[in-house]
């Protein structure tokens, strides 16, 4: 119908606008990697008597001996052909690494965002319904508590308390209990795969494994989400149409849920989009602490080894996800707010 058609147009427009951004990211990464003084050839030419010859041979193999612009051309040609190069740290093509590891990062970030929303929305609404009251201050204090500790400290603390002292959560490494055998690999998202194969014991195991890292990340984004929900809810509750609804004697729950919340959810959507993209980048700390086989820790290891290909692959991935996320948010916004649709 009308909203979909115009949303389609907007999607096309935004895609076109995104192309230069992605290209910009590619060139920036390429240059950034060349700026780093570390020379991967040296790092990887280990061996007892790694002479200069061996280092040069590796440089040639990695195409590092050609002038930079030529390397850039090669790089673009490879990207176009879907070849993201080969990672020296894992010895596999970057594409297979990313395909293996991306679902882990996405599953962690999606569940963290879900937990954050499930916690932040009610808290935000509660705070908005009684502004300035004790509840409001408690919510604000609680959310800020989550955001003022670096994620790696919260992670270590949660492990220390829930795994080491209380023993409630399973051992905090990887996505599935190491002894439970290999999970089915359909979409790569454990929760979905286990659900698809109906293996509920496995699903519960994967979920309990996912809980601690997801909560660590969720705590970090709880504050902005709750703050935005409170602010937009307060603004909407102050709106004249709410006064009309009360003047017409509409029941309390309908005013809050159907009238107020539907309007308040729109700005929260945009913030959720921004928060999602920052989470993807920032979950390197959580992946390191929980030895989560995600893309961020993979890229960080490669970065410290000056192994260019995986870092460039990771950054390209981040740029595309950033564009896709903005696209989805834009679409959802179009569907949720008929006004935007009909522009």
């Amino acid at each position: 119908m009308r909203a979909l058609a115009s949303a389609g147009r907007r999607v096309g427009g935004r895609l076109l606008a995104a192309i230069p951004a992605v290209l910009g990211v590619l060139v920036l990464t390429f240059l950034v990697m060349r700026v780093l003084p570390g020379d991967p050839a040296v790092y990887f030419a280990g061996g007892p008597s790694a002479g200069q010859a061996q280092i040069d041979q590796l440089r040639a193999e990695m195409g590092l001996d050609k002038p930079v612009p030529v390397q850039l051309m090669y790089y673009f040609r490879d990207i176009a052909g879907g070849d993201l190069g080969r990672s020296l740290t894992t010895g596999q093509p970057v594409l297979t690494d990313i395909r293996q590891r991306l679902p882990a990062s996405l599953e962690l970030t999606f569940s963290a965002l879900l937990i954050a929303l499930v916690a932040a929305l009610p808290l935000g609404i509660l705070a908005a319904l009684r502004p300035g009251s004790a509840v409001d201050h408690l919510v604000r204090f609680l959310c800020t508590m989550g955001v003022c500790m670096p994620t790696f400290v919260t992670g270590l603390l949660l492990i220390y308390v829930f795994y080491y002292l209380l023993g409630w959560s399973p051992d905090p490494t990887g996505r599935i209990d190491i002894f439970a055998g290999t999970p089915p690999d359909i979409t790569g998202f454990l929760l979905i795969d286990f659900a698809l194969t109906g293996d509920w014991a496995g699903w519960r195991a994967a979920a309990s494994q996912l809980l601690l890292p997801a909560v660590t990340m969720a705590l970090f984004v709880l504050a902005p989400l709750a703050r935005m929900t409170r602010a937009s809810m307060l603004a909407v509750l102050g709106g004249e149409f709410i006064r009309t609804a009360r003047a017409m004697g509409l029941p309390g729950w309908r005013i809050i849920l159907v009238y107020a919340l539907r309007n308040a959810v729109l700005p929260v959507l945009t913030i959720a989009g921004i928060v999602f993209s920052t989470m993807l980048g920032a979950n390197v700390l959580v992946e390191k602490v929980f030895s989560w086989p995600g893309v961020a820790s993979y890229a960080l290891d490669a970065l410290q080894a000056s192994d260019y290909a995986p870092v460039q692959g990771f950054v390209l991935l981040m740029a595309t996800i950033f564009v896709v996320v903005n696209l989805v948010i834009d679409l959802l916004y179009g569907l949720a707010d008929p006004r935007a649709g009909a522009e």
Partner: protein
């Protein structure tokens, strides 16, 4: 029709009296302001407050729990954690304040001009901001710190650049909304050129809203420095800085030496808490409309 009639009280009340007024109305903001003032004071008087030299090592009594001699205990090199914490305040506030102010000033001005003029400039800057935002945080930080070395000013520079897109976008939307306002048209009719309107009229008006973002950013900037230290990209030891202390201390939790991470962590939490809660109070103080 505004319900409460407009009481036109005499004269232009000073900022301080108005600030006192706002604080009385909001105890949380008052506490946050007190906390921040305390931090700034500690940062200024660090050398005189610290009982020991923060860098002097004494391996003989390393890893001592909090005691009378060392209130916060000693770290793995026997250095006094309390003194390092106090000196750390100076460095961390400096990092946070300079990074945020750098990104705010540059970002707000660029954003404001884009918001006002629009057209090609706005479009180009928009794409540049997209690129910066799509770029993963730690890759950018690592590249900058690795290329320029991890002295403090490079960490400040890296944090500022990562913050920049946020302020550009914020200023751009705030200005674009006010661009059609009557007083902007009036300013043009009174003979003000584009740049004077942006700097003299529009920027001061978006200050209150930006104040909230600045306070949130201050907290985030300190956390970012801590995160960089954890990844080995931040400040190098032995300089006393909360982030590196938390990063190093975190390794000893399992060994049972909790105080290495607890006290810097607490300080970090206190600082970030004050900055975040201060945000709303700051908005009321700076916003003239609130000055009855």
């Amino acid at each position: 029709m505004s319900a409460a009639p407009l009481a036109a009280s005499p004269g232009r009340p000073s900022i301080l009296r108005h600030a006192a007024w706002v604080l009385r109305g909001n105890p949380v903001t008052a506490a946050a302001l007190a906390g921040t003032a305390l931090l700034v004071l500690v940062a200024l008087l660090a050398p005189w407050l610290a009982p020991y030299d923060p860098v002097a090592t004494n391996v003989a009594n390393a890893m001592r729990p909090p005691s009378a001699a060392h209130w916060f205990g000693t770290d793995q090199l026997g250095r006094d954690i309390l003194s390092r914490l106090i000196h750390g305040t100076r460095l961390d506030l400096a990092i946070a304040a300079s990074a945020v102010s750098l990104s705010f000033v540059v970002g707000a001005v660029i954003g404001a001009f884009c918001g006002y003029h629009g057209g090609r400039l706005d479009h180009a800057v928009g794409r540049f901001v997209d690129v910066l935002m799509a770029f993963p945080l730690f890759v950018l930080a690592m590249a900058m710190v690795a290329a320029l070395g991890n002295q403090v000013q490079n960490i400040v520079f890296a944090t500022a650049v990562i913050n920049l897109p946020f302020y550009i976008r914020f200023a751009r939307t705030e200005v674009a909304v006010r661009r059609q306002a009557g007083w902007v048209e009036a300013a043009r009719a009174s003979g003000n050129g584009g740049s004077r309107i942006v700097l003299g009229f529009l920027l001061p008006n978006i200050l209150p809203n930006v104040a909230v973002q600045i306070s949130l950013n201050l907290g985030w900037a300190i956390l970012n420095a801590a995160g960089l230290s954890f990844l080995g990209l931040g400040v190098t030891a032995p300089t006393p800085e909360w982030g590196i202390m938390v990063a190093e201390g975190a390794r000893f939790i399992t060994a049972g030496n909790w105080w290495l991470v607890a006290f810097p962590g607490l300080a970090l939490m206190l600082a970030v808490l004050c900055f975040n809660l201060l945000g709303d109070g700051l908005r009321d103080i700076l916003d003239p409309r609130m000055r009855t």
